[in-house]
Every structure is written in structure tokens, then in C-alpha cells.
Symmetry: C2
């Protein structure tokens, strides 16, 4: 299954191929591929090269740890994320390590790292589905995450499954079309609300 | 000039090639390439497919608009960003359009869009340098940006210049090596602080 983007302007194939499935094969991700995904995150840009991100990882070959992390997601996400090969929590430090000042763009920069991770996964034939639907308090207690950190997202990595072989409700979501605003709706010029395209 | 990453695990060439120069050629970006960069941002993932991002754009061929946006950056960034071909402000809606609830991950998702934009630019031979160093109040007044929005970053897009032909202080920054934490420093397993690598 692939749901390639239908862009109005040419974009790189990796960017067009990336999408977020709900149907995953219940299958492990090879350790070398997983390391490459995290390595890609490592090389993202960040403000003052702070690299404010930390990941907590659980792989499905360690059933106890996988179940522990799965339990930190909202139930609606557990339904599908249980089939992923890897689960990550995406966490950021709230302040700069060099001077203790608040890092206003830490969560933005976590997004840059996650973008790299997703495209690297795509390049390796993997799929990524990110979630805001987590239970941050449970994450904090479960893993002893200090108050200096904000728990932002969870990330599922794995092999997309055929909708035909999957739960019908999840399959329906994966079969749905992809929609995006047009450039004219989100690129302005000169003044707020004045379309550049 | 290129400063390719030296990864510990293999990563896609686009991700390895991306870096953030200070030295730009004072040269316009072709409109079709710019459209592809924004198109790549368009296809990023976002929570509930909200696409919370808006960009305000200024291109150097419109000197008045370019100067207006340049003036919204902190002075230290104006020094080098004045040579870019395009400047963008990256802005997010603070709440979901579908129900008005706060969007906790809007800034994170702007990061996903910016990551796509940066890699598309890299694929087209362009370079991107993002900035947290902006004057949000000035941006808001200058462009009439509503309070429902947060102004997060600025983005410079252009052609990287040879450091040899550039301001020596900027050149020194571009000649410096690239550093990153190791995976063992930011990927944990089982408990906060327990390295997975």
C-alpha cells in the first residue's frame, strides 16, 4: 500500500511517498534500519545546535518494554500502534544546556528531528506514524522523566500492512484520500491574509 | 562549499547534505524552485492533518518587501540573511480550526513542515538556514498577524556562497566542523538516562 502525494509543484519522491499508516504488520524493525532512522534525527538542525531532543525507545522484540510504552499512549492510539515494530517517545529539554535560558523552539526543533527520522524511514521502506495522543503524566512517572523536560509526541515505526489484511476500521482510514490546503491558503506576502499564490 | 555529515550509521544523502550556511550569494531563487520548497512543506504530517502553519514570504527581487521582512529579524541575523534569496516567517495557529481547542503540537508540526522544506531545498541545490532570532512583536505589527497565531521562526532560502568570497567572520562559521551528540546521549530505553546504544 502506498498513498503517494499528488503535488501541485514537483517534490522529491521521498517527501511524496511519506504518509502515516494506521495498518502496520506486527513485525520487528531491523536494528540497523532503526539506528539509521535515529541517526537521521541526530543530524537535524536546531537552534544553537542545542539538539534538545531525547527519545525513549521500545522495540516489539522486548515485549515487557513494548507494552510499557504502549500503555503511555491514549487508548485510541494503542489500537493500531500495538502492531508497530518500534515505539518512541519524543521529549525535549525546556532550557538551553549552555546557559539555562528557556528554549522557545525546542518543540519546533523536535519536529525537525522527527521529519528527518520519517524521511529516513521512508527511504528504508518503513513507515512512521506520529502521535500527539499520549498520556504525558503517565510517561513521566513510568520512565522517571525530570520536570526539566516536556514529553511532546510518540512515534510508531514499522512496516505498513495491506489494508485488506487489517482491521476494517483501520483499513478504511488508510484507504481514505490525502488532503492538503493549497499554497494560496498558507503562503502570504506583504500582509497577513494576502495570498502569495 | 558543502559540509556533509559524518554519520555513525548510514543516512540518506539528502539528510547528510543538508546544513545551514551563513554565507549566501546575493541571488534570487527561481520561482519554480521556491514553489517546490513550499509544496514540500505542504505535504508534511500534522496532528489531525491540521496543517497549522502559515508562511509570510519576501523575495529579494521585491526590495521593499524583502527589507521589510529582514527588519523583523534580530540584527545579528540580518547581517547574513540579507544575502538570501527568500525570507519566510514561520507562523502557527494556536488552536485547531475544527473545534477551537488548543493545538499543543502546532509548533512541533511547523518543524515537520520546515524539515520537508529544507530537504526539498537541498534536493534543488539550495540551502536553508532557520532562525529563532526574530522580533515577534515587530512581525505582528508589521504584517497584522492576529493574536490567534504564534510567530515561531524565520527561514532564509538561497544559494550558499563560497566562504572565500564572503565576509571573514561569516566564512569562519561556515568553515567550522559539524558536531552532534551520539545516539547513546539521546536515545534511552526502559528508564530516563539509560542509554539504548
Amino acid at each position: 500500500m502506498s498513498k503517494i502525494a499528488q503535488p501541485d509543484h514537483p517534490i522529491h519522491e521521498l517527501i511524496a511517498q511519506r504518509w502515516s499508516p494506521y495498518c502496520f504488520e506486527p513485525r520487528a524493525v531491523e536494528p540497523d534500519k532503526l539506528a539509521s532512522c535515529l541517526e537521521a534525527a541526530r543530524w537535524a538542525a536546531s537552534s544553537y545546535n542545542e539538539q534538545p531532543w531525547t527519545y525513549i525507545m521500545a522495540t516489539r522484540d522486548d515485549q515487557a518494554e513494548f507494552t510499557k510504552l504502549l500503555g503511555c499512549l491514549l487508548e485510541a492510539n494503542q489500537v493500531w500502534a500495538q502492531h508497530a515494530g518500534v515505539l518512541l517517545l519524543g521529549i525535549v529539554s525546556n532550557s538551553f544546556s549552555r546557559n539555562g535560558n528557556p528554549n522557545r523552539v525546542a518543540q519546533h526543533d523536535l519536529g525537525l528531528a522527527a521529519g528527518n527520522l520519517s524521511l529516513q524511514a521512508t527511504a528504508l521502506g518503513l513507515s512512521v506514524h506520529q502521535m500527539a495522543g499520549i498520556n504525558p503524566d503517565k510517561c513521566r512517572v513510568t520512565y522517571g522523566i525530570p520536570e526539566s523536560q516536556t514529553i511532546v509526541t510518540a512515534i510508531a515505526i514499522g512496516y505498513a500492512a495491506s489494508p485488506d489484511a487489517s482491521d476494517p476500521q483501520l483499513a478504511e482510514r488508510d484507504r481514505a484520500g490525502r488532503g492538503r490546503k493549497t499554497l494560496s491558503e498558507f503562503v502570504y506576502r506583504g500582509q497577513w491574509g494576502q495570498s502569495a499564490y
